[in-house]
Assembly symmetry: C2
Homo-oligomer: 65 residues x 2
DNA sequence: GACAAATGGAATATATATTTTACATCGGAG
DNA sequence: CTCCGATGTAAAATATATATTCCATTTGTC
């Protein structure tokens, strides 16, 4: 589950803790999502997008192949 | 977790069973996702999008408010 | 060098997504 | 009327996402 969460977080000048709080999740969960270890739920992805002012496609889309 | 899975499935002329098989999930899970009962995982959402030839934003995006 | 913020990581506990199996209803085809 | 495909739904079992707590490491600042 690769994604661009870390890039958008850094671009927004947020720490993991800050983004996690904005999103309503824990820092540890965010850390694992950024590392690609987890397969987050749709609700969580949406909340991350809202906090980052992005959309699902920009942050989480992976081209099929 | 509202979404447009059912609309795109019908537009593609697929039954729940057919789309579930294409996506690699069970018919029951697809039924619950279409009803909005479940909060599916990102991987599942991506696979549904691939099977429907759509993207995350067209099928799963919900505007913040 | 001491301290604090930021991050990575592990262990356990809890919540919930997903599967499996099964039963019920409905609509159309024979 | 009967049969079958399509769908809704439920109970129990399993897998896994997420929270909680804790420790280690790095980096910057005093």
């Amino acid at each position: 589950m690769d994604n661009h969460v870390k890039a958008f977080r850094l671009a927004a000048g947020l720490s993991q803790k800050e983004l996690a709080t904005l999103t309503g999740i824990t820092r540890q969960t965010l850390s694992l999502i950024e590392k690609g270890t987890y397969n987050p739920s749709l609700k969580l992805c949406l909340n991350l997008c809202y906090a980052l002012h992005q959309t699902l496609d920009t942050v989480f889309w992976i081209d099929p192949s």
